[in-house]
Symmetry: C2
Subunit: 469 residues, 2 copies
Amino acid sequence: MNGSKITFLPYQKSIWAPPGIKIIELARMLNINIVSSCGGRGKCGKCKVLVEKGREGLNPPSESERKFLSPEEIKEGWRLACTISPQAATEIVIKVPEISLKDLKIQTRGADLSVGINPVIKKYVLELSSPLLGNNLSLEELLRRRLEEVYGLYGTRMGYEALKQLSMIWADLQPNELITLIIWDGKEILSVERGDTSDNLYGVAVDIGTTKVACFLMDLNEGRVLSVSSSSNPQGIFGEDVMSRVAFAMKGKNNLVRLQESVVECINRLLDDCCEKAGLSNEDIYDCCVVGNTCMLHLFLGISPKSLAFSPYWPVIRGGVNLKAGEFRPALRINPNGTIYVMPSIAGFVGGDNVAVQLACNCFVPDKSVKLILDIGTNTEIVLADKKGIAVCSCASGPAFEGMHIKCGIRAVSGAIDMVSIDPKTKEVRYHTIGEGKPIGICGSGLIDAIAGLINAGLLNKNGTFNVI
Amino acid sequence: MNGSKITFLPYQKSIWAPPGIKIIELARMLNINIVSSCGGRGKCGKCKVLVEKGREGLNPPSESERKFLSPEEIKEGWRLACTISPQAATEIVIKVPEISLKDLKIQTRGADLSVGINPVIKKYVLELSSPLLGNNLSLEELLRRRLEEVYGLYGTRMGYEALKQLSMIWADLQPNELITLIIWDGKEILSVERGDTSDNLYGVAVDIGTTKVACFLMDLNEGRVLSVSSSSNPQGIFGEDVMSRVAFAMKGKNNLVRLQESVVECINRLLDDCCEKAGLSNEDIYDCCVVGNTCMLHLFLGISPKSLAFSPYWPVIRGGVNLKAGEFRPALRINPNGTIYVMPSIAGFVGGDNVAVQLACNCFVPDKSVKLILDIGTNTEIVLADKKGIAVCSCASGPAFEGMHIKCGIRAVSGAIDMVSIDPKTKEVRYHTIGEGKPIGICGSGLIDAIAGLINAGLLNKNGTFNVI
């Protein structure tokens, strides 16, 4: 045999692998998603696995494993999945504990707010009457004149791809045959289709979260969601939080390309799925609107996010970005003559998703109400809006929800300390664990309790420093 | 041996070829350019060659050869090079007479008119000072503000490719390092370069004629021609005149693509040559301005020219076409962030080359003079301009210059009848041949003489019909 057979428990899934491939990557190939907050750099210690068989076939424990694992754990066979790989042909059995697993659930349903239907892409049906002798016009001018006469639409321009289509369609157009123009924002003719296709007008909304990606296929005539598809953001293997991904993007020349390709390929799979569910073809989609936090939008566009990593955390671009699908690389699987609109961001850590939610909640139309919007994710944004203005602030919430950068931090799984109280007089500590068993770590609510208790007991001051008692 | 050895005389050039490839194409591979007015369809009879050896290895004479060649000529071994190909492995010797050769001479020098230097592409050098804490801007906004402060250039927008470049350059920009912005028409930032590169600003002018293509590499800072390169238009193998090429484009779905690819590939070779002569790289070229007749511009753009073939001979597009080099396919070898500008045309048979010559001759700035412009080519355009307006007309001149559609028509080569006179009384015909030898055909000036003589002698009426005497 030329490789090692790796079996993952409790799944009983096996894979043959050549030497040198990391266990965390082999698990991912089998759709076993092991947590990797640091992006597989051995820096978070979250990817603990137990080697039940074949320890001798793996590389010896690394420095980072000695940091995150106790000597007892190492003795028992615990390892970090991102630091180990088979070294020689052998059989290895790995047990993945629940605590090291991602159990991702993606929320794609929400309250439907009433909005007027006014898509940026519209269709216009025309009869392209035969040109008349006696004046020197072009087919393109004739078409634009017809738009003025029939629809009162003045000042349109015709895109290059639409010109080519017009020339081919005209070449065998039948008398009285109708054609349909796809026009962006009442200004640019993007595409020409034979016949009256105005009943079919579709767009897609894409939400790129740090952890998850969701696509919503819309009927733009009716303003109705036709299908939804979502998945985890595959950039997670390069780092779970925004900063890890920025660090990865800065580390090598090709890394930015890999990050962009991985999210675009993910969106393409979701688009295929949405279209299949709705019985449409990807070519039917003429508009794609993309939201996400500022870093995700930079990575989607292939723009280096390095400036987001340093004070004053400026983005490269804040304004909305309008692109022809045909000029975007790697290709997004919508109609190549369609458009991609990336929502504007507000700041380095208040992105287009926040602008979208403000739009959806009518924050830009001031009324007497005071609005509070909480967008709680890997990063949390809070919006407070009234008639005088809108204030937004942003803060990482990964540490609270995922135990990131907290040595004993874990998510709210069985065994997590979720409540803590400290007696101000005796300083006695009491705690509660989820499932009421032996504690294995502390989760977000436990951390908040612990900090509150430490302050109440006079053990911690407002700078976060322990008081000497 | 697996193929035939074909030798062309008087060149003594040989080529090995598998069965089925036309002799005219084999000659072209050896840079022997045999005339083909009909585009190799056996319809013009201009590609006569003499088979000196290996007649039995060729296909038997076709119907079109029997039409254009006399039984004696066929007996002697004369064939049409576009209808014959080797059938079996044999040795064939072909003599190409001078009359069947293209002896193309391309005029690329002319009078230099004085014009102001105002290129559409300009460079702006900036120091991108570090962003300051305390306001929420983006690098892109900072850059555009600097353009306003330093150059008074307001309302610019930043192209997508330039955004990506900015993000990469900023990622390792040194303090006080300069950057150079390439800006189109004072409006769109196309590209960002490190350092001060403002001394290098290059563009190229391309003239696509039906028969010839010429490129002029320009220094846009100094308004100086740096190098020139020209070649025959390789679309000639698909038809020598505009109408043959339109017919070819309409004949098959892929033909339009072949026509476009062949001229773009030709321009790319000329661009390479121009850059090599001037010691520049193709990436240094940020602007490409293309002129040509309306059909050539349609074919360059990959737009079907079918509507040019039918009354009222409307083009698909008359207005100028502005493209990003990166969105143009097949790729033109200039900087992908540069622009391609295709000059506007006036009508189906008055193209962008005519607009360019009117511009160069200041026709759009009326003065007291009356201007007459003659553009004599495969198609001839005549412009008459005064302060009241500009009139243009157009007419095919291929028949006069190349003998197209005239059974005995030839170009002004040795043996061509170039002068004709008819005695009005006796109706006796006298003629003169170039070189004073035996006549082999009649050229343009002979045709005009003959028609004038026929009219003077009362033999032809003004409708072009022969009078019955």
